[in-house]
């Protein structure tokens, strides 16, 4: 022990700011593995639940509405292209599935671990920091969302909705959607006092995501709504994923990707700061 610390009077300590930079290390990995091990035991029923609902939507709306709507015109780099409604819907709804799977995991499941089971408290008695735990939860929710998305993509391929080889590019973008919505959900997780709180999140934040061009083209909406929608994370994801389903490269790819990345960066930092504040006592 250095001499000066023994002789100097007790220093008055300033608690570090909750807004300090995230300090993520590889210690996040065992926390991720913990969630994976729990999920492996429940993977099959959870998978059925995760893909059954989006597929019902797809079949009911895609084939049901699709029969009424027929083809739909989508603006592209070479003018507008007519595509079957089911393709239009599938490319949008898979983004929504990525959003919802990540959101449920980072809200309800993370809250159970953090608040109800006190799993996080147990982990923090070991040499794992809160930053690593929050990061692990974020990666975990994104992974789970990717798993769901992959299963749905498999079904879509089997149904012959799209056979575009560019779907390989859509896959990492859908992972990005999972990351972004995990980060955003973790902000609300940090603020929640109980499960009821998440209702606000769903009605105030997730419902507007319907204005992201999933069920109908954004072009038919009023200009004001279109401008707002242009900044929604889900709308930007759809703008990237839909052309890939149509075997085309998206326009303004960089802009859409940057919007998504900005959501990830800001939301993760805010989520971490609020979680640090929650655990600081």
């Amino acid at each position: 022990m250095p001499e000066d610390t023994l002789l100097s009077p007790a220093p008055v300590l300033a608690a570090p700011s909750v807004w300090r930079a995230p300090a993520v290390t590889l210690r996040f990995w065992p926390v991720f593995l913990r969630n994976l091990l729990v999920w492996r035991k429940l993977a099959i029923p959870s998978l059925v639940g995760n893909i059954a609902e989006p597929l019902m939507w797809l079949v009911a709306f895609g084939y049901g509405m699709g029969a009424l709507v027929g083809e739909i015109r989508v603006a592209g780099p070479t003018g507008s292209v007519a595509v079957p409604y089911i393709l239009f819907l599938a490319s949008g709804s898979i983004c929504m599935s990525a959003m919802q799977a990540a959101t449920f995991e980072a809200l309800y499941s993370a809250f159970s671990r953090m608040h109800v089971q006190k799993t996080w408290d147990g982990i923090m008695n070991a040499p794992v920091s809160l930053d690593d735990i929050v990061f692990a939860e974020m990666v975990w929710a994104a992974f789970k969302s990717l798993f769901t998305v992959t299963a749905i993509l498999g079904v879509m391929l089997a149904l012959g909705i799209s056979h575009s080889p560019k779907l390989l590019v859509a896959w990492p973008i859908l992972f990005g959607v999972g990351v972004a919505f995990s980060c955003i959900a973790l902000i609300f997780n940090a603020l929640a006092r109980g499960y009821d709180f998440f209702t606000y999140y769903f009605t105030l934040f997730l419902t507007p995501m319907f204005l992201s061009g999933i069920f109908f083209p954004l072009e038919q909406l009023p200009v004001v709504v279109r401008v707002i929608a242009g900044w929604l994370p889900l709308a930007n994801a759809v703008e990237m994923v839909r052309p890939l389903f149509m075997d085309q490269w998206p326009e303004h790819f960089l802009r859409h990707a940057l919007v998504l990345v900005a959501y990830v960066g800001v939301a993760f930092w805010v989520a971490l700061a609020l979680t640090r504040r929650r655990f600081r006592q």
């Binding site: 009077p9 300590l13 210690r27 593995l33 729990v38 089971q117 147990g122 794992v128 920091s129 006592q281």
Partner: protein, 312 residues
């Protein structure tokens, strides 16, 4: 008070203070734990025990003071310190989805241990916790005592030098409590150090080589259990209860006691002269008496008062 420890302390807290809003929860607290020692922290609810433990774990940042452990400094080296600590908190944080063996495996990974390394330790840890036959059971299927022992086994997965145990036997039946004590004594024999908070004075007396009495966030006494009793109390206590007992506090028998306390219908005589007191009490056969040596509970009540605490 206590002789200086022959070895440099394993864990040292200096002038620690913590306030929440207007109330000072921990105030200028200093203590040290020598290698192989069991230090007990006792105090009424709200005395600052759990806050102190949280600061020792780096989970709460003190307003002033310093914490050093194993040559490292808390906050700066929090993770490196926790690498060498084992923790059992008041509330179990066992994973309900995992069985006993999986709980140990998953927890060992948080210390950066290899799966092979942890799996090699699991049988001995389960054996230590008397849970070998329950390796495949989930916490929900375990009794309270089994859960606490699993928590203790989990805290040992990294072979820590120091254990921080926050009320490890609260809520257990006597059998489970005695088994826990036996295990903790075994750990002390193996050379582990322990910081223990407890509400059970017999537990403190049995396990702890030294005690710290906290009240309102301040240290009000420190020393070996026997020394503290000898220093603060008369050797014998006679409790008298029954109709009219309270009047004895002001009667002739008062002269045989150094100190008298009335609590409800019971009179407590603290005395150096129990023979004459007991002889005098023969005259009141309608009263029930209990004669016993002064113990840690008497000390605790003398130092912290008989008042029920607001948050108790």
């Amino acid at each position: 008070m206590t002789p200086p420890a022959p070895l440099p302390p394993l864990f040292e807290v200096r002038n620690l203070s913590k306030r929440y809003g207007d109330s000072e929860v921990v105030s200028d607290l200093s203590f040290a734990i020598a290698p192989g020692e069991c230090l007990g922290v006792i105090g009424p609810n709200g005395a600052g025990k759990t806050t102190t433990i949280r600061m020792c774990l780096g989970l709460s940042v003190p307003d002033a003071g310093s914490i050093h452990a194993m040559g490292l400094r808390m906050q700066r080296d929090a993770l490196a310190i926790k690498d060498q600590l084992g923790v059992v908190t008041q509330m179990d944080t066992l994973d309900p989805d995992f069985n006993c063996a999986e709980n140990l495996l998953v927890y060992g990974r948080y210390f950066g241990m290899k799966d092979r390394e942890i799996r090699a330790r699991i049988p001995a840890l389960l054996e230590f916790a008397s849970l070998t036959h329950k390796a495949g059971a989930k916490p929900g299927e375990l009794s309270g005592g089994m859960k606490r022992r699993l928590s203790l086994a989990r805290a040992l997965v990294n072979d820590p030098r120091l254990l921080l145990l926050d009320e490890p036997t609260t809520g257990l039946d006597p059998q489970a409590r005695h088994l826990m004590w036996e295990r903790l004594q075994l750990l002390l024999q193996q050379g582990k150090s322990i910081l223990l908070t407890t509400h059970f004075m017999d537990e403190a007396e049995r396990l702890c080589s030294r005690l710290l009495v906290l009240d309102h966030g301040r240290k009000i006494a420190e020393g070996r259990p026997r020394d503290l009793i000898a220093q603060h109390l008369e050797p014998d206590v006679v409790e008298v209860y029954g109709p009219g007992a309270a009047a004895l506090a002001h009667g002739v028998l008062r002269q045989h006691a150094a100190r008298v306390e009335v609590s409800g219908e019971t009179v407590f005589f603290y005395t150096h002269n129990c023979a004459s007191l007991m002889a005098g009490l023969q005259a009141c056969p309608q009263l029930r008496t209990l004669h016993r040596p002064a113990n840690l509970e008497d000390l605790f009540l003398k130092l912290t008062g008989r008042q029920i605490r607001e948050d108790a």
